[in-house]
Symmetry: C2
Subunit: 347 residues, 2 copies
């Protein structure tokens, strides 16, 4: 039977969750390939049923891929974009789940061949734990999934990604890459830094053990982000530093206001808490409505999948590709291609 | 049948959860009385089965009470301590669940009659929502419950409170009131302020709606504490200001370090994230062992309950009390006694 192929590069928490979610569709006829510079990750993903096949080389992994997910930290994604071009079929779709978009969009435009469609993506989902064993098929259920198509991406390729995102239960919405990074700095990257600062503050104090004894769920929640992947965090800081420094200044200004209210005493402090409580309750109970994706009406997920994956159109197209991808590389070469040249081995 | 009586003053999230937890014990022969300045709260608690009886006056509520829980914000607890003395039986036990302990211990020593045993308490548990309808019988399951006995409290009275805390599934541990407040400032009160600052920073920015659209679970977690009860938050700041200002300074110093690492670039940032990730993972996977309560070996919860509540010893003692508590007060008087003189009506 004709099969289309989806390749997931990076089988950590996000990549394996993408795999689990897409693999669970009963009507699927696409094959899911997984690849990771840590082959144990990919093997775990395979055992979990997130991927159908684990491959040991970038060439093999990209051969015949209709859709490629880059589910790695953003600097690793850069290196992949540099390396993957020669192995991609004309018309292939490349998308990602990286935390920052601006630099990545630029690199995709620079490194990918013209006939390849790049559509930036970012699911607003995560867990405290990382690695494939923390993955869940429903990780993206109800989550916002930012979509930033490159100018060169065809409308049809955007619709394919929208369809996949919807198939995973997420709610896609369009956003410009630079705009994404500005707001992500406020709601995601600065909170990460605050979480790290809070944990370090207590952990490095002489009374750590006593403090830890009375730390409740509030402290755990407020420091959860500090348990996130260090490479991902570092890459975020490298690729979005200006916006993060801006919001760090604004955060410190808010803390100054609170200090002033503390000094002023009773009423201003109560007013601050009461208005914040009210505003946040409104935010939680009446979430701001998402903009519908603009542009042509998107076919439903099933139409999408049927049209482009189940129906095998892309497969037909891919069959026409030159069969130039028979080489295998050893693990060391794979590690280099997947960005392991970076000495910070932590995922 | 002879019944001992437990009175819960303040039937919000915590008080109603205490009631639900204690009411669910199958072998209990104690009666649970609930009282709240907002009688709708107490009526809701009654409907939920958290209390057996809702009463409309402080006198009536305290009549024959063997154990009194003050489950209100700390400044309201102060007013209750001022007012409740005349209605308490000799040998009665008063405990609380307030967020700060130092001032409260002082007020208890100042206002309560000599024959009353005060044992400060603080369960490290909470939820985003407040009010009785958010209460849960298992809210304290596995939670740390700080116990700060006053010097005047008898060993037996401390054992009763330990027994109740264990009966609710919590893990009691002794701590000095001042020490409690110092560490609570670090792991609970400063995080609350950081949460408020973070939410206000984004909420008050011009891009709030765009930012909210891409805000994920991280932002929700990091701002959860900002949805807490405003009166409770204000009371914490009033009664623990010095410690909080101290930790606010240390938090800002941590943020400065991060800013320096951001400026320095790649490696120092990665090291910071990696060491923090490691330290926090250790904290989560290998929690610091709690000190066992010192002093005489505590009887088990069932021994405790049997000895002092089910066995009716306290009831026998209470029967000897002068029956001076037949007066009822109207709601206005009740509201005054329960601290509603304070114009900040929010619970």
């Amino acid at each position: 039977m004709a099969q289309s192929r989806i390749t997931i590069i990076g089988t950590g928490l996000i990549g394996t969750s993408v795999g689990l979610s897409l693999a669970s569709r009963k009507d699927r006829t696409y094959e899911i390939i997984g690849i990771d510079r840590d082959r144990n990750f990919a093997r775990t993903a395979k055992k979990m049923g997130a991927i159908d096949r684990e491959v040991g080389s970038l060439e093999e992994g990209l051969m015949g891929a209709a859709i490629v997910f880059l589910t790695v930290p953003v600097m690793a994604a850069r290196r992949l974009l540099q390396d993957m071009g020669p192995y991609l079929a004309e018309g292939a779709i490349v998308t990602d789940t990286c935390s920052t978009k601006s630099d990545l969009m630029r690199w995709a435009a620079e490194y990918l061949p013209e006939g390849v469609h790049f559509i930036g993506g970012h699911p607003m989902a995560g867990r405290e734990k990382s690695g494939p064993s923390a993955a869940r098929a429903d990780l993206f259920q109800g989550a916002t999934w930012a979509i930033a198509p490159s100018p060169r991406a065809s409308e049809q390729s955007v619709q394919v990604v929208l369809g996949l995102v919807e198939a995973m239960g997420a709610i896609p919405f369009y956003i410009d890459g630079a705009e994404h990074d500005q707001w992500a700095a406020a709601v995601s990257h600065l909170p990460l830094l605050a979480s790290v600062a809070l944990f370090r503050m207590v952990r490095d104090s002489q009374g750590w053990e006593d403090a830890a004894l009375i730390a409740g769920p509030g402290f755990k929640d407020m420091t959860r982000l500090a348990s996130g992947d260090a490479t991902m965090a570092r890459d975020i800081m490298v690729t979005n530093r200006d916006a993060i420094v801006h919001w760090l200044g604004r955060f410190e200004a808010e803390l100054d206001k609170i200090r002033t209210a503390l000094d002023a005493g009773d009423d201003s402090m109560f007013d601050l808490f009461a208005s914040t409580q009210l505003d946040r309750d409104v935010y939680i109970t009446n979430p701001i409505t998402r903009r519908k994706p603009t542009g042509p009406v998107a076919p439903s997920a099933s139409d999408q999948m049927g049209q482009l994956l189940l129906g095998g159109k892309l497969h037909d197209k891919l069959k026409e590709m030159p069969d130039k991808m028979n080489g295998r590389t050893d693990d060391r070469d794979l590690r280099r291609k997947l960005g392991a040249g970076d000495d910070n081995g932590a995922r």
